[in-house]
Symmetry: C2
Subunit: 454 residues, 2 copies
């Protein structure tokens, strides 16, 4: 039997990130000013991000150098292992060959440090003293806390109050790495005070937390803001996942027919899939890349492609994206990282151009898949990661039904050690389907007054 794990060494950590924009047949449309609705340039981002990240946000260069210092920190957990899922194949009795790339070996337990580390690095280089961000369940906040600690930058995390109270473990993890964590809304921003004045008992929302983090950065010269998904430079940093996976599949003497990843804002999917899409562009391969989203938040499979705000309040530039409407409130599923109304710009254009696919799974289906995986492979997956597993299982079952073998690769983006409550809810029958009706989606989209894309 061939080895279960395909490993690379530290010298194999890629030296460049891959920028898919260079290869896209249709480039992303420009962002628009939230008020004037005119196209805006990179300078509009200056108050929030360091110049090097803004350059990465708009570059059309195919390759972007990874600084040595970033590669050295990556080496704490990278290259990550690629597994042949012998246990899962046996459990499914499928002729398919299943592989997964495991990003849960990072210190914070997900793929997020792949971008938090370079983001902190560029901020440090430009003399920034403090980075602010928002976090829901805490995956992104803890990844940024870890990165800021390494560069001795202050880190302020605005954590949705409901999660702050209900999920204290991620908060303590951030504290351990030296970050300050505020329940949002807080008294330290005007935005937070305003919300608290209107409703002192609010449990907060990601939209409010974004407003607080952005305000802190916009009003202080020594402070910038960081985002964990959606933006181009975030996706760029994550391509390290797929580049390693391409090398590992070559070592395995195999190449995927299908590449799968969970989909929230797109960084997880982009990270694994873009380097395989590059093979489609450069070598004329025909690798199917499938984004896997929750059926309770189905922007790719049931949303519209139009300009929309990145936040709930309407402060950010308008971005061309698949969206359910910026006022859409996703059901409170445990996969907090997938509860976002829109898809990043690059991924949206790729879907529009039919260069990638998307599927949705309901909440019960993904937990069933997660438990099947945990029993077959040992690792208990994060609720976000179970979506990719559900798609992989569906494709493997299709192989069995059709009597053909295909090679399937998915991104196991994080472990579920901080999510055991979710599994308890599943075992106790407290997980529900959260299917959206046509009426629900129509009502959310009907409210949109943002520019359409013709």
């Amino acid at each position: 039997m061939k080895p279960r794990k395909i490993l690379l060494t530290e010298k194999d950590i890629p030296e460049k990130w891959y920028n898919i924009i260079a290869d896209m047949p249709n480039k992303p449309l420009p962002p628009l000013h939230p008020v004037t609705k005119e196209p805006i340039g990179p300078d509009a981002l200056e108050p929030l991000f360091p110049m090097e990240l803004i350059k990465q946000e708009v570059t059309t260069d195919k390759w972007v150098d990874i600084p040595d210092e970033v590669r050295h920190i990556y080496s704490l957990w990278r290259p990550t292992p690629l597994y042949r899922a012998y246990g899962l194949e046996k459990a499914l009795d499928t002729p398919a060959k299943i592989y997964y790339k495991y990003e849960g070996v990072s210190p914070s337990g997900s793929h997020k440090p792949n971008t938090s580390v370079p983001q902190a690095y560029y901020n440090k280089k430009e003399g920034i003293k403090r980075i602010t961000t928002e976090t829901g369940a805490g995956q992104w906040g803890s990844a940024l806390a870890f990165a800021c600690n390494h560069f001795n930058i202050e880190c302020e995390v605005f954590m949705v109050k409901l999660s702050y109270l209900q999920k204290p473990y991620r908060k303590i993890m951030m504290n351990t790495w030296g970050a300050k964590v505020f329940p949002s809304p807080s008294e330290i921003t005007q935005a937070g005070k305003k919300v608290l004045a209107e409703d002192p008992n609010t449990t907060g929302s990601l939209g409010i937390a974004i407003s607080e983090a952005v305000e802190r950065a916009a009003t202080r010269d020594d402070t910038k803001y960081a985002l964990g998904s959606v933006l181009n430079h975030v996706k760029l940093h994550q391509t390290i996942i797929g580049q390693e996976a391409v090398a590992q599949m070559e070592i395995a003497g195999d190449m995927p027919d299908i590449v799968i990843a969970p989909f929230g804002g797109g960084s997880n999917f982009a990270g694994l899939a873009f380097p395989f899409l590059r093979l489609n562009f450069d070598e004329g391969r025909n690798i199917r890349c499938i984004a896997s989203e929750p059926s309770s938040c189905p922007k790719l499979t049931r949303g519209v492609f139009r300009y929309d705000f990145g936040d709930t309040i309407g402060m950010t530039p308008l971005l061309p994206m698949y969206t359910l409407g910026h006022n859409f409130v996703p059901a409170p599923i445990h996969a907090g990282g997938l509860r976002y109304h829109g898809a990043g710009v690059i991924v949206s254009q790729l879907l529009k151009d039919k260069l990638i696919e998307a599927v949705a799974h309901d909440n019960i289906e993904v937990f069933k898949a997660g438990v099947t995986f945990a029993k077959a492979e040992g690792i208990i997956p994060a609720p976000e990661a179970t979506h990719g597993i559900a798609t992989a299982i569906a494709e493997a079952e299709k192989c069995k039904h059709e009597g053909v073998s295909r090679t399937i690769l998915f991104n196991l983006c994080g472990h579920g050690n901080f999510d055991m409550k979710a599994y308890d809810d599943y075992f106790s029958g407290n997980i529900v389907k959260h299917e959206l009706s046509e009426v629900d989606i129509h009502q959310s989209l009907a409210k949109l007054d943002t520019p359409e894309i013709l």
Copy 2:
């Protein structure tokens, strides 16, 4: 700079476990019957353990074959990485070279599956349908649940009721792998019923949970019992850690002057240290091996070497061990895995013969060390693991003070993802020292009426 991680491949997973008894100048004294106090043979263990494990318990062969099927399951996470702790060295500004072996990459997050997998394997081979065990905080119970799931054996875990109620995440982890978890004392054993009749509100203890698990195994033909530390066969299985580490240190072109591991019952320490002690025996090396225990449970540094029971109630054979007395109740420190009154037989004899050393650290010192490590290296360690870190830091600081470089290797036996409450208590100032007075120890030992060793 040399690589941070020294990796092995699956074909490097050792093919044999190392049995240190073969090399010991003074062999362990025999166990005694709990009532007659006469030496007992292996047959006394038959109601509780499968024959192959009993053979391993008493063998004097230097090497024991690891079955291929066990090696294949090991390959889910083994070989584990060995890290050069560049970040910690820098943080301490020490001339010492520090390495750590990281066992937290296993599915249950500690070194425990190294023995739960072969234990489940041998039970399966001998037709056993069900394995019972006790667990405190849940590290051992979850490792056994993981292993039993792989071999399709039922797993029953008696979890101390206080932990069952206060630490539900480990319980859900066991459920995910299919184990049944009972709060102990339970209504399903005579032992449990008896305790509940006397005190319906008891929060349980490890001693009671052991009695329940043993009773279930002793009264059913298809059921055996499993133990996660102390016994010889458990230590034998763990030597896979140190064997890998020896090979990894050779790749690093280095060899430790000092090997350190946390100490509870001894399996963690034995796992890393015994293969280095073999180099002392076989090659005349002079590697110092240091067991690191909590000062609130200091059996090695302040206990006595005499016969004592393995459990609180006095049901097990009498074992020759360093002990604080089987009635000793350790303070409720977060490092639950180190709260045990005695030390395993082999380790006790080695300490008696001055072939190993022991040190103790107080509760505040270990958390300070744990946070220093998390900030310098990224990984947040389990409370048990912080004891080894504290010893490593103390030795590295000694190097700095003396102006010499030594090579230090310690066992990072598990991650702290399920222990964030402990860190919260530390940050909130709720961790206390729990130092034991001479009077405390004297009072506990004065109660002992077990045979002395002359």
